[in-house]
C-alpha cells in the first residue's frame, strides 16, 4: 500500500504528457499547412468567394444589361488595338464585350457565384445522403445492408454525366427547372450520383470501426445506439469523408459547366437584378459560337473553370495527404 503511494508521483512525473495532446484536426491542419500548393488553392477559393459575395461591387457594369450604344457591338479585350474606335480595347471593358454588348468581365465575376454555389450545395447534399445511407447499411448490416448496397451498385454503374443529361432534359421545362434560373434542378441533378462514393466509404469505415474495442467498451457501459453512432463511429469516419467531399466539389463544378455548355444547365437570365445571371459554362457556350471573331469571350470563362478546378484539386490533394499520411508517403 505504502509502496504504491510512493511510486505514483514518480510514475505520474514520467508518464505525464509533456505538452497537450494534438487532436486529429490540429494534426491534419499542421500537415495541410506544409503543402504550399494546397494553401495556394485555398487562398484562391477564398478570393473567389469574396468576389462572388461582393459581385455587385466588383463588377464594373451590369452583367445583363447591353451596352451596345456606348460600347459598340464587339468591344475587344483591353490590350487589343483595333483601327476601328468602336472595336478597339478599352479598360472600361477589361475583357471586352460579348456579341450583344455585355461586359464579359462583369459576367465572369457574376459567374463565380454559380460555380461556387453549384460546387458546394450538391456536396453538402451528397455527403449528408451518403453518410445516412452508409451509416444505415454499415450499422444495421444484414438484409438492409444488402439491399442498400445493391442499390448503390446500380447507381454506380450508371455513367454520371448521362444521368445528369437526361435528368436536365426531362425536368428543365417543368416548374422545378425554372426555380432560381434552374439552379434548384441543378442541385438535385448533381446530387444524384456522388453520394454513392460517400455511402460506400462510410459503410466501410463503420464496418471497420464497429469491431474496435472502444466501441465495444462504449456499448458495455450502456451507450445507446444513437450515441454510439454519433459520438464514437461518425467522428472516426470524418477524415476520409472530408477528403472525398473536397473532390466532389470540382466534379460538380465541371458537370455544371458541361451541362450549361450543352445548353441544358443554368438558364441565362435577362432580368437586370438577377442574383445568378449566368455561369461560366453558359459563357463558354456563347463564346464558342463566335470563337473565331471574338476569342476572348471564350478564353476568359475557360481559364476561369480551369483555374477553379485546379485550385480544388490542390486542396483535395492537400487534405488527402493531411488526413491520410500513409497514402502521402508514396
Amino acid at each position: 500500500m505504502a509502496a504504491t503511494a510512493a511510486t505514483t508521483p514518480v510514475l505520474d512525473r514520467d508518464l505525464l504528457l509533456q505538452r497537450p495532446p494534438r487532436s486529429l484536426w490540429s494534426d491534419a491542419w499542421r500537415r495541410f499547412r506544409k503543402n504550399r500548393l494546397a494553401l495556394l488553392g485555398l487562398a484562391y477559393i477564398a478570393f473567389l468567394a469574396v468576389i462572388a459575395l461582393a459581385a455587385p461591387l466588383v463588377a464594373p457594369h451590369n452583367p445583363v444589361q447591353s451596352d451596345v450604344q456606348h460600347a459598340g457591338v464587339v468591344r475587344q479585350a483591353a490590350w487589343i488595338r483595333d483601327p476601328n474606335p468602336m472595336r478597339t480595347g478599352s479598360w472600361e471593358y477589361p475583357l471586352g464585350t460579348d456579341s450583344v454588348g455585355r461586359d464579359v468581365f462583369s459576367r465572369l465575376v457574376y459567374g463565380t457565384r454559380v460555380s461556387l454555389v453549384v460546387g458546394f450545395v450538391p456536396m453538402i447534399f451528397t455527403v449528408s445522403i451518403g453518410m445516412l445511407i452508409g451509416l444505415l447499411a454499415g450499422y444495421a448490416g444484414g438484409r438492409v445492408d444488402n439491399l442498400l448496397m445493391r442499390f448503390t451498385d446500380v447507381v454506380y454503374a450508371f455513367p454520371d454525366l448521362l444521368l445528369f443529361i437526361i435528368m436536365q432534359v426531362a425536368f428543365q421545362d417543368a416548374w422545378i427547372g425554372k426555380l432560381l434560373n434552374g439552379l434548384v434542378l441543378l442541385f438535385i441533378t448533381l446530387s444524384l450520383v456522388s453520394w454513392v462514393t460517400v455511402a460506400r466509404l462510410v459503410r466501410g469505415e463503420v464496418l471497420a470501426v464497429k469491431q474496435k474495442e472502444f466501441v465495444e467498451a462504449a456499448r458495455a457501459i450502456g451507450a445507446s445506439s444513437f450515441s454510439l453512432l454519433f459520438r464514437h463511429i461518425v467522428p472516426n469516419t470524418l477524415g476520409p469523408i472530408i477528403v472525398v467531399a473536397a473532390y466532389i466539389v470540382p466534379g460538380a463544378i465541371i458537370s455544371e459547366a458541361i451541362l450549361s455548355y450543352l445548353g441544358i444547365g443554368i438558364r441565362p437570365s435577362v432580368r437586370l437584378d438577377a442574383p445568378f445571371p449566368t455561369s461560366w459554362g453558359s459563357m463558354i457556350l456563347e463564346g464558342s459560337k463566335a470563337w473565331e471573331s471574338q476569342p476572348w469571350m471564350l478564353i476568359a470563362p475557360t481559364l476561369a473553370v480551369a483555374s477553379i478546378t485546379l485550385a480544388f484539386t490542390f486542396v483535395g490533394d492537400g487534405l488527402r495527404d493531411a488526413f491520410d499520411p500513409r497514402q502521402a508517403e508514396r
Partner: protein, 336 residues
C-alpha cells in the same frame, strides 16, 4: 473457375441494364412535349396514325385495359393474359432492346431508326476513341515508369505536373484552349469540314489526343505510384542479384506487377473516355455518335437521347466487365 466468374459478371449486367433502361425511360416520359411536336401543328389523324404505327397509343407501363377487355371477352389463358398485360410502351421498349431495336428517331419523323443512325455515326466516334486510348496508354504508362525510375528528377516533375493538370482540368476546357491556341498561334484549323473526317485522316489527331489527356494523366500517376511500390520489393532485388539486365528487371519483374493496378482502373478510365467523347466531338465538330447525341438533346429527340444513353451505358458496363475479367485473369486471388 474463371468461366464461372465471368458468367457471374455477365449475369450482373442484366439487372444493371434493366435498371438503367427503366430510369431513362421514366425520366424521358416525364419530359414535357410529345415526339411529333413541330412548329406547325400536325393533323390529328396523322398523329393518331403515327402513334399507332409506333405503339405510342399503348399505356406507358402496363396494359391493364387490354387484360380487362380480354377477360370480359372470356379469355382465361394466363400466358395470353400476361402477354396482354405486358403490351405497353415500356415492355415493348425492353423487348426491342433485346432485339437491338431502339425504335424510330422522332426527329426523322420515324423514317430512320435510332440504331441505324447510331450505326452510321459510329465509325468517327470509334476512331477518336482509338486515338485517345492509344495515346493514353502509349504516353501515360512510359511517363509513369520513367517518373518512378528517375524519382525526383526533372522528368519526374514534368510528368507529375502534366498529370496533375490533365487530371484536374476537364478535357472540354483543354479542347477549347487547344483549338484557340492552334488557330491563333499556328494558324492551324483543328475544326474540319464534314468531308475531311472520312477514312483515317489527320483530323482525328487533335480530338483524340485531347480526349485521351485525362486518361493519360491518370495512368501516369497510377503507374508511377504502383512502380514506386514495386521498386523496393524483395523479388526485384533478387532479380538484380541473379544478374538480370536492368531492362529485364524493369519489364519482366517491375512492370508486370505494377500494371495489375493500372489495368483495374482502365474501366473507369474508358468510361471517362466514353462520356467525354460527346463533348469533344461537339467542340471539334466530329460527325460521330457523340455530336448526334448533343444535337438530339437540343432538338429534344427523346428516342434518340434514350437510345444513345443506353448504348453509352452498356458500353461503360462492358468496359467494366472487361476489366473485371482481365483482373481476375491476371490475379488469381480475385477469383473468389
Amino acid at each position: 473457375m474463371l468461366l464461372a466468374f465471368i458468367l457471374r459478371r455477365i449475369f450482373w449486367l442484366i439487372p444493371v441494364v434493366v435498371a438503367v433502361t427503366t430510369i431513362t425511360f421514366f425520366l424521358m416520359h416525364r419530359a414535357p412535349g410529345g415526339p411529333w411536336d413541330r412548329e406547325k401543328p400536325v393533323a390529328a389523324a396523322t398523329l393518331k396514325a403515327l402513334d399507332q404505327k409506333f405503339g405510342l397509343d399503348k399505356p406507358v407501363w402496363v396494359n391493364i385495359e387490354e387484360v380487362r377487355a380480354r377477360w370480359q371477352a372470356g379469355q382465361r389463358n394466363p400466358i395470353r393474359l400476361l402477354g396482354a398485360f405486358l403490351d405497353s410502351q415500356y415492355f415493348r421498349y425492353l423487348w426491342g432492346l433485346v432485339r437491338l431495336d431502339l425504335g424510330p428517331s422522332y426527329r426523322s419523323k420515324g423514317t430512320e431508326s435510332v440504331q441505324s443512325i447510331l450505326w452510321r455515326k459510329f465509325p468517327p466516334t470509334a476512331k477518336v476513341g482509338v486515338v485517345a486510348t492509344v495515346f493514353a496508354v502509349m504516353v501515360g504508362v512510359p511517363l509513369g515508369v520513367l517518373g518512378a525510375l528517375k524519382q525526383n528528377s526533372w522528368i519526374d516533375y514534368v510528368s507529375l505536373t502534366v498529370a496533375t493538370l490533365g487530371v484536374s482540368v476537364p478535357s472540354f476546357i483543354i479542347g477549347v484552349l487547344v483549338i484557340i491556341f492552334l488557330s491563333q498561334v499556328f494558324g492551324v484549323k483543328p475544326i474540319r469540314q464534314p468531308e475531311e473526317w472520312r477514312g483515317f485522316s489527320t483530323a482525328y489527331l487533335a480530338p483524340g489526343i485531347v480526349l485521351g489527356l485525362g486518361t493519360m494523366s491518370y495512368l501516369t500517376r497510377l503507374t508511377r505510384s504502383s512502380m514506386l511500390e514495386v521498386i523496393r520489393q524483395d523479388y526485384v532485388r533478387t532479380a538484380r542479384a541473379k544478374g538480370l539486365s536492368e531492362f529485364q528487371v524493369v519489364t519482366r519483374h517491375m512492370l508486370r506487377n505494377a500494371l495489375i493496378a493500372v489495368i483495374t482502373v482502365l474501366g473507369p478510365a474508358v468510361a471517362a473516355l466514353v462520356t467525354g467523347s460527346f463533348i469533344i466531338e461537339t467542340i471539334f465538330n466530329v460527325p460521330g455518335m457523340g455530336r448526334e447525341y448533343v444535337v438530339a438533346i437540343a432538338a429534344r429527340d427523346y428516342s434518340m437521347i434514350m437510345g444513345t444513353t443506353l448504348m453509352y451505358a452498356l458500353f461503360v458496363a462492358l468496359a467494366n466487365l472487361w476489366v473485371d475479367v482481365m483482373y481476375g485473369f491476371l490475379d488469381p486471388r480475385i477469383r473468389v
